[in-house]
């Protein structure tokens, strides 16, 4: 029926079940190589303010990556990234595929930059152990990939303040550890999946085509 938010109760639970069967079984076929990962990121992104100027790959003593700006390692003297936080650096370009070599990454925060293109559908096969993914306040477009449901350990998914379109995938209901979720201020439409019915309105505001209980709008005219 035109102009209404459809009830998606049964569909939601079925999708949840099928997603549960396959969640967490994503494995990468590449070997971890965090140096390759960061070299690739530096080469792919434009860095007009030189915020990554201390990213030098010349003197490669063990654990040197751990001193690079935005990098936290799992342990001292081992080049294995725990988190990458490059917030508010005017970085532009698209999310680079070389991220897949940082397989131990738990936190990826690229918020408040000028990244464009889409949220890659493969991001959860690149980084299967992500706990926090913050791509907010960028210039990302396209839809939210349903494959984000493969990031089984995701606690925080922040995609607000972009130009994401399409609907919020039902499959995101399969993210059993999700605590913080925001898609505010995008161009999303359609029904908010039922699993988010108790979320705050703030997480969905600024999407004129979106409807659902958090927005107090079950029927859209």
């Amino acid at each position: 029926m035109k102009g209404s938010c459809p009830s998606s109760l049964k569909i939601s639970r079925f999708v949840l079940l099928t997603r549960m069967l396959f969640a967490g079984h994503v494995s990468s076929t590449v070997t971890e190589d965090d140096i390759k990962c960061l070299k690739g990121i530096k080469n792919s992104l434009n860095d007009p303010d030189g915020k990554l100027s201390n990213w030098s790959f010349n003197n490669n003593s063990a654990g040197f990556l751990c001193n690079l700006v935005g990098v936290e390692c799992w342990m001292e003297r081992e080049d294995r990234l725990l988190s990458l936080q490059l917030r508010d650096m005017k970085l532009s370009g698209q999310l680079p595929q070389s991220l897949q070599y940082c397989q131990s990454l738990q936190t990826l925060d690229l918020s408040a930059n000028r990244l464009s293109g889409t949220v890659p559908a493969q991001i959860c096969s690149w980084l299967p152990y992500l706990v926090t993914l913050d791509l907010s306040s960028n210039d990302l477009s396209g839809s939210i990939p349903s494959e984000l449901s493969n990031c089984a350990y995701l606690n925080n998914l922040v995609l607000s303040n972009n130009r994401l379109s399409g609907s919020i995938p039902e499959q995101l209901s399969g993210l059993l550890r999700l605590k913080r979720f925001s898609v505010a201020n995008n161009d999303l439409k359609g029904a908010i999946p039922l699993s988010f019915e108790n979320n705050s309105k703030v997480d969905f505001a600024g999407n004129s085509g979106l409807c659902g209980r958090p927005l107090g709008r079950v029927w859209k005219l």
């Binding site: 079940l17 549960m20 079984h25 342990m75 397989q103 152990y129 089984a152």
Partner: protein
């Protein structure tokens, strides 16, 4: 009047002596640690138990009240054992003893260090269990016990530490279940890999090429566990749909 003055002077002297002794309690605890460690590089040679306090000692940091807040002895080629006296350092925030060759068990008295924010004992030769008392470390943010020979289970008490942000118990011989509740929602298979834990929903990651772990068939075992887990979920499907 003279009597009053002399009484006051004696009291001040006595108080001074008491304070000197009290100030040394932390120095005594650190000295007990020094006596239990082998220190081939002589890093601890300036740890002098007759000092008023240990605040000038190598790699010891104190606060403005001369109470120890940090022990930084990572990568120091130390061996020997930890001591229960460490539990007396009530203002300790950082216990950094990683990448040494320290053996023996983790003293349960470390659970008394209620100001601890970082406990790094990784890359040593520690044995025994993870003390349940570590659940008392209500301000702990970092707990890295990886790359030791710890056995037993992961204490559920750790899941109640709300401040915990980084956990690594990988590369040990821990068994039992992996908690996923409370703060452990933040931790994924990497934190638990290379143990004897019950890996249910997801297989642990393959061994990292750069670590010195000698595990072999984890991936194959993990795949089999994954298929079994999927079958279990499939058979419980009706219950989930109609719940």
């Amino acid at each position: 009047m003279e009597r009053l003055i002399s009484v006051c002077l004696w009291l001040i002297l006595a108080l001074h002596l008491v304070l000197r002794v009290a100030g040394n309690a932390e120095g005594d605890a650190l000295n007990a640690l020094k006596n239990n460690l082998a220190d081939p590089n002589n890093l601890l040679q300036d740890w002098d138990p007759t000092d008023i306090n240990p605040c000038q000692w190598y790699n010891i940091t104190c606060n403005s009240e001369n109470s120890v807040t940090r022990i930084d002895l990572g990568n120091a080629k130390l061996s020997g054992k930890l001591v229960p006296d460490l539990g007396l350092l009530s203002n300790l925030q950082y216990l950094e003893l990683y990448s040494n060759n320290i053996s023996g068990e983790i003293p349960e008295e470390i659970g008394n260090l209620t100001n601890l924010v970082s406990l790094d004992l990784y890359l040593n030769a520690l044995t025994g269990h993870i003390p349940v008392t570590l659940g008392n470390l209500r301000k702990l943010r970092v707990l890295r016990l990886n790359n030791n020979s710890l056995t037993g289970q992961i204490p559920m008490a750790l899941t109640t530490i709300e401040t915990l942000q980084l956990l690594d118990v990988s590369n040990n011989q821990l068994e039992g279940d992996i908690p996923v509740n409370g703060s452990f929602s933040l931790f994924q298979p990497i934190s638990f890999s290379n143990n004897r834990l019950n890996y249910t929903l997801a297989p642990p990651p393959p061994p990292m090429p750069s670590t010195a772990s000698t595990s072999s068939g984890n991936s194959a075992v993990g795949a089999i566990v994954g298929v079994v887990a999927a079958s279990v979920v499939l058979f419980s499907a009706p219950a989930i749909i109609f719940a």
